[in-house]
Every structure is written in structure tokens, then in C-alpha cells.
Symmetry: C2
Subunit: 326 residues, 2 copies
């Protein structure tokens, strides 16, 4: 199965590594909107092509993994590529998924290709776990917690404040809230009760740190609804201690069964990830395998993680997974 | 969707309750090998039929949930019923699954019906999580822990010892082992290092408790490879404190990604169940919905949880799950 990467940032680099971990996938190359000569791939053997040339290779690529941003890239890229290629994306603007689905579905059906959108961990593996848990326990309550992990959006928001040179923001689930949910107490949790925000900020030498801290904690939508801690550190400390992109979280459903709902159950799925983009990339490659197989069976149109039979994600045969994993 | 229950023990009673929690399922009735007049269903309105009459109702039942034991019931029941009914079972003898699959597949294909075998939590939800996690992290290591929960097999084994009137055995995961796995230490764990066994035993008044304890802890396969604690209690205490059938466990995969495998990840799925049979029953009903839908689309043959697209488990439509759960 020949995989190509369209868009080459952290996620694309993650796909480049993930493809090498799978015996049935090989990398055709990377397509970038930058000048190819200015792009240094993770592995020296990786070929780099200009994005504008992509359709020249439509018969050479089995699945194209589109590694663009959800805000502006993917709403254009995925529909425009889905009629020529089997594609996977990680579109994660939850509220806009139905609209994105419709646009991609039209293109994929027109071209007779399979597109799988919103693949990753949330949306993606967390979504799957929400669906499975809801199907099993109709009478229950869902909780999703994120972190401990780096939020790029919140880090960027801090960097836009005057006098801030660099910043890293961690989203942290509140342990007491997690404990209450796991104990089956069915708490009603406010935004503030679920997560705290921890910020590491590099300020300019002459900046008013008090003012920066006030601007952060009062920032609507991003911070004002949370208990936020701001730590000022040096650029050296930030680079040394906070250069990773860890993330993770918890999807929990609690519910009851029995004649009178007398028995309680807790279903929990959790991820603890050293590298958010590399893990997301690994999920993308597994679903690329499914897209390739579905396309080979004559299927087409836009799919989500909900539409994929799990067996199609595995490198093993159906007989093998039945014998070894069931 | 009309569901019938074939075999009426704890699991069948769980299905009887679970069907009422789902708006799209109704119970046709219970089929029992006992005399129907001696069976008291959970809900007074539930109809009870003799198992021998089952084929009379082949056009009235959409999915038959077979609630027999894996040792002797299911290897006969499921193949014999799968040509006349869409069926679900919870066959859980892992080593014999391929053989069971082949027998059920032949019958289901012959009758043009859908059969889903080995549905529940292990096999079942734990299997799904093993597959998903392996597909995402090819370079990694799997761990499954069970408990804290009641093992019927081990409880039965104790009851067969001379002088034992009643017994309840709990399987308990070793916290230190769980912690080591979650920390990404990739431990190689012996049987003894993964689980302990805790036994509550009611002994006859004149029984030699020392001898009973020795027989338990030395019992090959069941106890000799574990650190086992034996507590003697009264029948009243057993009935008061240990009448529940809780269970659960943990499926964990740790793995690495990145150019040099430098980033580590932990995927964990866990269940904490007040009632093992009621939770299993709830999983069975969700997969009955999928069997019904697949049959309606003209599919047939034996399926496992690996073959079912998650969307088919949900009471919601595809558009709804995309908009609400993705």
C-alpha cells in the first residue's frame, strides 16, 4: 500500500515515521506547499514533491493522508483531493463536521474514492469509545476529560499578548472530578470543575508581567472560565522543559442496568501520549489501511471511524485476529 | 426489533432487563429447557416458552440471544439455531473460537442468517480494544488484567472440595504490576505477579479448615500459580457481603512512535462492573441490533465484534452519531 503525505508539519512528520512501523505500508513521498528544496524530511530517503503536482501521481498513490489544519486547510483540501485519491484527514472542528462530511462525500462519490474524515483521537478514538459505551449502556452519563497536555490553540493565544515572547499551555483534568466520575457519583461539572490551565510564559525583559498575567486569566473563552496558573520562565527553561507535545485524556461513561437500575458500571478509555501529532499520525495510518481495503472492495464515499469494521484496521488477516485477539 | 432469549440463567435475566432499556427493542419471550411453569421471569409480562418449540417461532423473532454456557451448551446450540435465526452468543472459550466460528458460519450461511459469536466484554469489548490498540501502535506490548471480580469457575472449584459448603473467589489485579505497565516500564510479568486470588469459604462445622486451605492454595491451574488468601466466613456473611457478581479489568497497550521510537504512549481501556452478567447482556443487545441491520442488508454468515461497523451498534442514525458523537 503506497501512502503519500499532503502537508508537511508535525503531523506529516509523524505519518512519515508511522508508515515505517507498518510492514504493509510504504511511503510514496511528501507533498508540500513550500519549495521542496527547503523541506528536510525525517528520513533522508523520503521524496519531496510540490503540492501543485499532486494530480500527476493519482495512479501511483493508494491513499493520501492530508495533514493540514482544520481551520482553513482541510475544508478546502479534502474535498478538492477526494475525487482523485482515497484520502484520510483529521478534521477536528466538531461543530463543522457534518458540513465537511457533505462536501467530501460529494467529491469522493463523484470520483469513486473512499475518504475517511475526522480520524485521530478526538475526534477519532474518543468518538468510537463514546459510541460503543453509549450503545452498551443506554441509561448513563458521558464525561470527557483532556490532558495533561499541550493545547496549541491556548499557547498561541498567549503568544499574541503584547510582551510575550513564547508560551506553552497545559490543560489538566481536575483529579477530584475524575475521582467523582469514576466513583459513579454522576456529578454535574462546570467548565471550571473539570480542567485547570497551567501556563509557562517567556516575557520580554521590559514587559509588565502583572499585566500579562491579568490578560491571560481574564481572556474570554480561552481562560476566564478556568482556574489558570501563570508561571514566568526563561526561553532556555521553556526550550529545555517544555518542548514536547504530550496530550491525552479520558472518556468515561457511567451507567446502570438491572430490573431497577440497581447495578452500576464504569467504562473508561484513556490515552497518555508523549507526542500528540505522532499518535494522531499512527491512527491515520491504521485508517488508511481500512480505506485502501474498502476501496479495493468497490466501496466509495465519505466515511468516519464509525463506518469502519475494526478488522479492516489490522495488518493481520481476519482468521488471525479471530484466533489471536478475540 | 423482536428479541428472544434462549436459555434463562443470570445472563438471560440480564438480557430481559437490557431489552427494556433500548427504545428500538422488544422482548418476544424467553425459551427455557426447564418447564416454563417453573420459571419466574424478572418482569411479570415476559412470556416463557419451552426451548423445544423454538423453531415454531422462526418468523416471529428478529434476533435470538443464546444465553448458554460455553463449556457444553453453546458449541451445540449456536450452530443448531444459526440456520433458522439471526443469533448472538457469548462463547468465551478463547482457544476454541476458530472451531466454533467455522461450525456457526456453515449453519448461518446455509440459512442466510447473521450470527455474531463471542460477544461480551472478554471476548468482546476487550478484544476490540486489543485490536484497535495494536493497529495504532504496531511497536508495543499488550497487557490484560482482570478484576476485581468474581470468578465463577474458581468459586466452583473451591465448592468441590470436601467439607466446603459454599465459596466465593475474587480475582484481583496486582496494583504494582498495573502501575509498572502504566508507567511504560514494559515489565515481563509472571502469572503470580499479575493477579492475586481472594477466597471466602463457608466450611462445614466439623471440617478441617487447615486441610481445606491447603487444598485450595495447592490446586493446580486454579490456585497454585497465584498468591491466594483464604478467609473462612459464615454462610450468613457470604450471603450478606458477597452475593453480587462484580467484575471488570484493564486492557493496556504501551508502545512507541517517532523516528527512533523516542515517544511513548499508553492506551488503556477499563471496566468496573457491578454485575458481570448484566453488563455482558447489555453488550449482547447492542450487537443484536447490528445483526438485525446487517441481516436486513442481505448479509449472512458468522461475524465477530471485529466485523461490525460501530455505527450499526447505535440506536441513533448515522447522521446523528456523526453530528453528536464524532
Amino acid at each position: 500500500m503506497k501512502i503519500a503525505i499532503y502537508g508537511y508539519g508535525n503531523l506529516g512528520r509523524g505519518v512519515e515515521s508511522a508508515v515505517r512501523q507498518n510492514p504493509d505500508t510504504e511511503l510514496f513521498g511528501v507533498f508540500t506547499r513550500r519549495s521542496p528544496e527547503n523541506v528536510t524530511p525525517v528520513f533522508p530517503g523520503t521524496k519531496v514533491f510540490p503540492a501543485a503536482d499532486i494530480t500527476k501521481y493519482k495512479n501511483d498513490i493508494d491513499v493520501l493522508i492530508i495533514c493540514g489544519g482544520s481551520a482553513t486547510d482541510l475544508p478546502k483540501m479534502t474535498p478538492s483531493l477526494a475525487s482523485d485519491f482515497n484520502v484520510i484527514d483529521s478534521f477536528d472542528t466538531h461543530a463543522d463536521i457534518p458540513k465537511h462530511f457533505a462536501a467530501v462525500n460529494e467529491a469522493a462519490k463523484r470520483g469513486g474514492k473512499v475518504a475517511v474524515i475526522s480520524v485521530g483521537w478526538d475526534p477519532g478514538m474518543f468518538s468510537l469509545n463514546r459510541l460503543y459505551a453509549n450503545a452498551i449502556l443506554p441509561d448513563g452519563k458521558d464525561y470527557t476529560f483532556w490532558g495533561k497536555g499541550v493545547s496549541q490553540g491556548h499557547s498561541d493565544a498567549i503568544r499574541r499578548i503584547e510582551g510575550v515572547l513564547d508560551a506553552r499551555q497545559y490543560t489538566i483534568p481536575v483529579q477530584a472530578a475524575l475521582d467523582s466520575v469514576r466513583a459513579g457519583e454522576n456529578p454535574e461539572l462546570t467548565t471550571r470543575e473539570k480542567h485547570t490551565r497551567l501556563c509557562y510564559v517567556v516575557a520580554a525583559a521590559d514587559a509588565d508581567k502583572k499585566r500579562i498575567e491579568q490578560e491571560i486569566v481574564a481572556m474570554p473563552k480561552y481562560f476566564s472560565d478556568y482556574d489558570t496558573t501563570v508561571n514566568f520562565i526563561s526561553q532556555e527553561e521553556l526550550d529545555r522543559d517544555h518542548k514536547g507535545i504530550p496530550h491525552g485524556g479520558f472518556v468515561i461513561r457511567t451507567g446502570s442496568t438491572g430490573a431497577a437500575g440497581e447495578n452500576r458500571h464504569v467504562i473508561e478509555y484513556s490515552l497518555k501520549l508523549d507526542s500528540n501529532p505522532e499518535f494522531t499520525a499512527s491512527v491515520l495510518v491504521a485508517f488508511a489501511r481500512a480505506a485502501y481495503r474498502m476501496s479495493g472492495r468497490g466501496d466509495c464515499g465519505c466515511k468516519t471511524v464509525f463506518d469502519i469494521a475494526p478488522v479492516d484496521l489490522s495488518v493481520k488477516t481476519r482468521d488471525q485476529v479471530i484466533a489471536e485477539m478475540l
